[in-house]
Symmetry: C3
Subunit: 425 residues, 3 copies
């Protein structure tokens, strides 16, 4: 994953333009990603696809023609979506166009102006202090013209038409944790899902420009909303922080039970935070008329770590072990979703005699049955047709995989049967 | 408020009689208070209006004709509702008629005998110990005759016929915190409510003798019960204790959410106690066949502070700052009630684009929107027609006033609409 | 109780056989216990009554004919339900047939093999280490033949056909806490219930061999399931541990409220644990197709104390005071069940005037009414027809007995009436 991130880091992404396409094309080498597009001006829900933005060059030059700020050295220097400019600018006019962070004098901030025609430069506060007051030459060689908005979509169909969604944003330029960490985890997770021998459900991976990309997908795929059983937004997974799971709006959808269960079973530190309408594209997927049942998995939190949206969110701060752990958690989540059936006890009056079916240790008097026997007893007790395997897992504290093995055994002996089409929580 | 309390303090109030009328007449100078009355003997719910009680004079005199206990020096000396007496009383007969508090030897207790014909005197235990055993002359020049029960009522109508009720008791004689503090807060709150430029709801202020007054109001105004959206009993608001909010019987009525929200927003210390059937007139308003949805706001608690129902509940112990704070909290509560509408998001699929409506800052990349933008996002997310503004305020932690401003903005842009006639919680 | 336990201790009980009959016959001297039986081979729910097992003798003898392990010295030495054997056995063949506890070298474990034809011996690990490797003579003079399964049942009918169930297991040999403590408490409780002057409900006492006995009762009494309002499994009540109450499967049945209330009122230490499908016969009574609403009262927990299922669970470790306390708690529980009616306030609009009915102290101004008056106020407030006396007890913190007295008083004055046939929680 780290290698992929290194490769993608230098690209200047935005919500539209060549950077996104380059990124998606690179990912197509790893996973069967379709690149979708909608032309500028297309109405999508309450929004409109904006003009496409591309940068050829951008710099601020002094009298001697020296580039004091150069987009080619760091694409954060240019305010994302800056309109074209090519003229001399007075020191006083320049000031409000310059963005720096006095509290972090060495870091360059990341700024955007997607929906209002502006321009500007970002720089470290240290550099700003050293910039001699003068007239400068501003050269912003960008285009902002009719084009397309792109997003990537990979769908791995399952036995049923229902699906789960993973989504991550792909619109940030040279920032590592936000959003390359999410992109890498999503790509490798997609590979794993692709290679599963069996899938009960479909899995959709969305690599979308933030907000407008999610809106565009929602607008074009309204017929699928009802098929989505839940999902997860992936973001900020590369730093050495404990996990934060942000719940869906309701807070009691399947993913809200499944993900904490997975994290608890892995015995990793995590916090659960309730939904709030700031953050990533869960804002769109959980809007009141949509509510797909999606949470968000993060390590560092949205707008909640010092390096957020600055040049300090760089490659050095990524922890490969943390990325790998995030990938593993997502894999476990898929396992839970796949396993989460609802069963009916076929012999609900008293406990069935497991011993004569060879399902129970022969010698009694010991302390309790361990492992599989405990799982069988829990299943027989709890499966009155209303509780899913995940709910039994939570109630019993047993891993769902063990309950799944126990359920298979009990089904073989006609003691349990799956309730068909069970849309479990 | 303190001046008003000083003025009212000397009056000998009881559940009936001239003291209540005098008190209400003084309040009529401040607010448009109607004085209501019901004649003795009138059945009211399960009760009957008692005879009216008035005191001309009362004392205990020794052999030398010296008044050792004199109603004119402190109206607590006479057991409230004492029947007329004028005779010499043996020391042994006198003993059970004398009430004192050995644990607080300097305090005179407050005692009543409304519904059983008794008489008696209250005195400090120190004085009692010094009283020489002897025969005394008891002179209680009271009348207990057919008359009326009075209560005060001020109604400030609103745009709709629904109303909120504030109630406080007016039957205690020279006690300061119990009940003059409540009377003062109610009176000044009524002034504020009267001068509001606009009222969605009606506001009723009830100044009633404890129990029988509330029962009388309920009995004569049964047709209004269904119009009451909730309310608050005011009591014991003058001492330097943190607030105690006593919930309605259900514990989940609008006032049960609104008042803690107000106190939290003001960042003042408070405790919430569940309903119990001892206390003030919430006992009546929350009885099982009535349940108006009323809580009770106190500082010191009912029967829960050392000076309760003694001469030590005096003017010196009142804190003007605490009274003012209680008034402010009640004002905030009215603001919440007025603001608590339920809205429907008109654009619930994805977030609407606030930027193109001029509702959002132009330059992205910053940390989160603050204030009004945050309020707009919360509203758009939470208003699916089932959550009131108050519920959004609680969920988001934002002040309801800010949400109200945001809702107004969003309504102007047709992004939100009020659900008419929303009876919110 | 202790004398009874001493008397029953030496008997070699199992799930079938003479030991159970002997035990039940002894109990018949104390309570009107019917001994029921079902023949071997009878199908009961998913199970089949096993052959009856009886032991004449059993030992392990060395070359010199000395009994190195002798069933007559301790019936735990023989694995319960061992098949007959009479032959010389090689040291290597013997090893897997010997059971000891290296962690507790002086204790003999208790082992069973009810449903698989096996044999074996249990011994202290210390003795095992000293046993010279050799060929031994195994003599197990048992019979495993068609016979019957027995259980004891005492039913004390009530005014209505509904009933509560107490159940305890009677299948353990010389173990004191598990199960003689439960047997003793059940027997003495049955005596108390028998001598109650009045019973609203029937009370059934089941003394059953673990699992198969409960299954047998369920199978033969299916028509009664619907009449059972709840019940309690009694086990492990003799040790000096705080109480553990294990909830019914739902966790909100009447017993789940009643028993913690009783323990709280007695001010004894206790813990509540949620249901889990290991333990005693609550496993059967609470299976998904049965769910009688039964919890389990223990002190030491199932499989949760060091001496569990070993010879160290002996008479010396029993605490008579703890047994007596458990008996008292069960008596209180019966009292709660008997008292737990649902009432309707007949005068629900405002509080009724208790004073004129002589139900209230005459002199006001005191702090609150205590005791019976408090109970009357709570009842008048809470009895809107939906809350049972037990629920009012929990809400108010008052003892149910006091509420019962208050309810009787209020009923006499037509202020309250019982809702007939109220099946309260």
């Amino acid at each position: 994953m780290l290698a992929l991130i290194h490769e993608l880091f230098p690209i200047c992404r935005s919500i539209t333009g060549e950077g996104v396409r380059q990124t998606l094309r690179r990912l197509q080498q790893l996973i069967p990603l379709e690149m979708h597009s909608l032309p500028s001006g297309t109405p999508v829900l309450d929004w409109t696809i904006p003009p496409e933005w591309n940068v050829r060059d951008a710099y601020l030059a002094n009298d001697r023609g020296e580039r004091v700020l150069d987009f080619r050295r760091n694409n954060l220097h240019l305010v994302n979506y800056s309109v074209p400019v090519d003229r001399r600018v007075e020191w006083s006019e320049l000031q409000p166009r310059l963005h720096s962070l006095p509290a972090h004098p060495d870091w360059i901030p990341y700024r955007t102006s997607y929906y209002r025609p502006e321009w500007g430069f970002c720089l470290s506060d240290r550099q700003r202090q050293q910039l001699p007051p003068a007239t400068y030459h501003v050269r912003i060689d960008t285009t902002l013209e009719p084009g397309v908005l792109n997003w990537g979509e990979a769908y791995f169909p399952g036995e049923t038409d229902a699906e789960y969604v993973f989504s991550t944003h792909v619109c940030h330029p040279s920032l590592a944790n936000d959003n390359l960490a999410g992109i890498a985890v999503a790509a490798f997770l997609a590979q794993q899902v692709a290679s599963r021998p069996q899938r009960r459900f479909g899995y959709r991976f969305l690599l979308v420009p933030g907000t407008i990309g999610a809106i565009a997908w929602l607008a074009t795929r309204e017929a699928r909303w009802g098929k989505v059983r839940g999902g997860l937004v992936l973001a900020l997974l590369g730093h050495d922080y404990p996990f934060t799971y942000k719940q869906s709006s309701c807070g009691d959808r399947e993913v809200d039970v499944a993900l904490p269960h997975v994290l608890r079973q892995r015995n990793v530190a995590f916090e659960v935070m309730p939904f709030e309408p700031y953050g990533y594209d869960e804002r769109q997927y959980e809007s009141p008329g949509v509510r797909l049942g999606m949470g968000c998995l993060m390590r560092s939190r949205y707008a909640g770590y010092p390096e957020y949206h600055t040049s300090a969110d760089n490659l050095e701060r990524l922890h490969p072990v943390r990325l790998a752990e995030a990938l593993a958690v997502c894999g476990d989540l898929v396992d839970v979703w796949e396993a989460n059936r609802t069963y009916q006890n076929c012999q609900p009056r008293g406990e069935p005699q497991l011993g004569r079916r060879g399902l129970y240790q022969s010698l009694g008097g010991h302390s309790d049955a361990q492992g599989i026997e405990r799982a069988m007893l829990w299943l027989l007790h709890a499966t009155d047709g209303s509780q899913s395997l995940l709910q039994v897992a939570v109630r019993s504290g047993l891993p769902i995989a063990q309950l799944q093995r126990a359920a298979d055994l009990l089904c073989q002996h006609d003691l349990l049967r799956e309730i068909s089409g069970s849309a479990a929580k």
